[in-house]
Amino acid sequence: MDEIERNKRYNSYVEAKIAKTHAWPSLFNAFWVGGLICTLGQVFNDLILYIFPNVSTQSAWAYTLIILIFLASFLTGIGVFDKIGAFAGAGTIVPITGFSNSITSPAIEFKNEGIIFGMCAKMFIIAGPVIVSGTVASMIVGLIYLIF
């Protein structure tokens, strides 16, 4: 068998083995799960403002996000988040829950490589690029704002 033929057959084999993302159901699932997470955030935010009326709007949002981060981190720990994630796709990645999951998940996975170089280092394998790009972009915005 020549090499080109072999590669072709291998590619079609890989293609058949890859789990296919069915477009329409996944779009629908991403929509309603994502929407539900945001609604949950709004409920927490309203509850915080209702129970503690003197909290500022900005602090209330910070608390809301911290609660969502806690829930996502916990659900990742007990292994439930991955199942929801497989079902909802971007519906769980795009909300702040995805950011939290992206830190907790490698933290648990790389624990067996040691606490320092495993867990603590690998925590930022996905969140690192996010924090770096966000920080740099915000500094550019600050710089432009200072000049103009």
Partner: protein
């Protein structure tokens, strides 16, 4: 508590943002990290050109909970800090505004990382 239709708006707009993310996943086969980076930069950009505040007024958690809100508070923090403390604000503003979220994510990841063991993945 907000009126019921506010929750409807939040559900709809938040869902749309995630739908947009899912379209990116399907069309470009982007990984989680790339999706998150794209949306953070989008948030920074929207805040910088001043469009984010009116959108946030209308959508509330619909844009604040998605990672776009994270980018927006980075940019907002930087702008406000430049107003109040000048050049130093460029360096301190962004991360100060988002410190709560980052610290919480790291802290909970550390705690639950210690407590829970990795599960073998079933595909």
């Amino acid at each position: 508590m907000s009126d019921w239709y506010v929750y409807l708006i939040v559900f709809g707009t938040g869902g749309l943002v995630c739908l947009l993310g899912q379209i990116l996943v399907i069309k470009t086969k982007m990984t989680t990290a790339r999706i998150l980076v794209t949306f953070v930069i989008l948030g920074v950009f929207l805040q910088a050109i001043g469009v984010y505040e009116p959108i946030s007024e209308f959508c509330k958690a619909g844009v604040n909970v998605p990672i776009i809100g994270f980018g927006a508070s980075l940019a907002k923090g930087a702008i406000n800090a430049v107003k109040s403390s000048g050049v130093l604000g460029i360096f301190t503003g962004g991360l100060t505004a988002t410190a709560g979220g980052i610290a919480a994510s790291v802290f909970f990841a550390f705690i639950f990382g210690i407590i829970f063991k990795a599960k073998t993945k079933k595909l």
